[in-house]
Assembly symmetry: C2
Homo-oligomer: 282 residues x 2
């Protein structure tokens, strides 16, 4: 843009990190789609283009959410001209929020080192899945799944225990031509909070539809249609199990993405890229 500027890094560009929340109900997921399909990335990049005056803006996201899935802790990065960033950084969140629809909110905008990578530097993702099995609250209907039958949280936790750890989750993943289905599932647990049953899922990464398939295998355990061993038996099949339903997107929220200290970015990026192919969904 402006050659009189100090070369900050990255050829006159500065990398910024956006922390984003959204109600995914009315969107075809994060990833930009052909014209006519509303996406979070599409709305965000349009707002960024409008504010910067650039012909094009490219965001890289930490957790590519599917259609209808929500986020409270989404993270993306992008590079913008240094001059613009240095002048605008303090009001960028406010300006973006005034451009974006009410169901997408920017929580924070921060300058990051040029080697920060929202996708490959991530250590882990944490999702929550919320189900109301009684006293349905219409105020939370967009992000809490209503379930007609009472759920036994103890049974769901027992069944979940068999899934924790480093496994080939092929049974719970939509098949893809390339990429591994081996993941390290650090946490699955369920807790009852009043009328809600809340599931917590944390892993280095999840393959496509994995959290919703895990939920889809655990709800029938909770309401007694399947026995406690069923999800573990399905895992051991090591291939797609077609009677596992994919739970609706409604209940799913990407709550948090974890990153290492700045000094660890390079090492983490190298490790992630060695483990997983670049065209995989996180």
């Amino acid at each position: 843009m402006n050659s009189r500027l100090e070369p900050v890094s990255n050829g006159g560009l500065i990398r910024i990190r956006l922390d984003i929340s959204y109600d995914g109900t009315d969107y075809f997921g994060w990833a930009r789609q052909p014209a006519g399909l509303k996406t979070i990335q599409g709305e965000l990049e349009a707002a960024l283009i409008s504010i910067t005056g650039l012909p094009e803006v490219k965001t890289i996201v930490g957790g590519r959410t599917d259609a209808g899935v929500h986020a409270r802790g989404q993270v993306c990065h992008l590079d913008l001209p240094a001059e613009f960033v240095l002048e605008q950084i303090s009001r960028l969140a406010l300006r973006l929020n005034s451009q974006l629809p009410q169901d997408i909110r920017i929580g924070a905008v921060k300058i990051t080192p040029a080697n920060f990578d929202a996708r490959f530097a991530a250590l882990a993702r944490r999702y929550a899945y919320r189900i109301a099995d009684r006293d349905i609250d219409p105020l939370t209907r967009n992000w809490v799944l209503a379930h007609e039958y009472p759920l036994d949280v103890d049974a769901m936790n027992q069944a979940s225990a068999a899934l924790i750890g480093l496994h080939d989750f092929a049974a719970f993943c939509k098949p893809k031509p390339v990429g591994s289905t081996i993941r390290n599932l650090a946490e699955i647990s369920w807790q009852r909070i009043d009328n809600l049953v809340v599931g917590h899922f944390k892993a280095d990464a999840f393959c496509h539809s994995m959290v919703r398939s895990l939920v889809g295998s655990l709800i029938p355990v909770g309401d007694g249609r399947k026995d406690i061993d069923w999800p573990g038996r399905s895992l051991r099949a090591k291939q797609r199990v077609f009677d596992i339903p994919v739970a609706p997107a409604t209940g799913l929220v990407l709550e948090e993405i974890y990153y290492p200290a700045e000094s660890e970015y390079e090492a983490r990026i190298a490790q992630t890229q060695a483990l997983r192919s670049a065209d995989e969904v996180d």
Copy 2:
């Protein structure tokens, strides 16, 4: 309806109580309006007519909420033919919910004594008002007011203390040709829960727009635009104070209506009717 039925009470009719929750965002309040204006009562009575086959159904509500106001603990009563009620009572909530839009939910349907009155038997109403003064969560945008400036909860509690008790709340009420503006405000308190500031309001009854005017007088105390004595000074004016803003409906939820034991219905109804004229808003 059917003269072969045992006369249950009330001339072949049985009184039932409905517990109702709704997201009021898309409605012109509880009370039925001229055709074309969507209301909670209108939707509910249409669903009741569809299920019962009656030409008309009349509901009486405990807390007549304004346009855009929500409820988790709304209560209404109505009389239906005994034969229908005795046959259908166990599935009435399910049938109503399958007829109603997703933003209105019936939590419970119960048979009550014929002298239960959702409006006049109520002992008290409790409302909550929720404000996010940081980390705006788009998932709760329908029922949490976003406020740009940080709120001082201690200051709001100090200002609220002057409003508690039996007072003439004319300063906070839309004027009406008849009816008293004297109310017994049993509770106003504010608490911080993470990014939210939550106000609790409990009174025997509230006059029209009273909770939102109380909130409208307390938000400017919270963000420092008005001093702590301002709401109390306004109260002492004993007439409408026009610089008190009416806070938006977004943040307001009718959380609960309190009723006495069955044996106390008659006494409570007589007491309420003596205190307040029948054409007043609760």
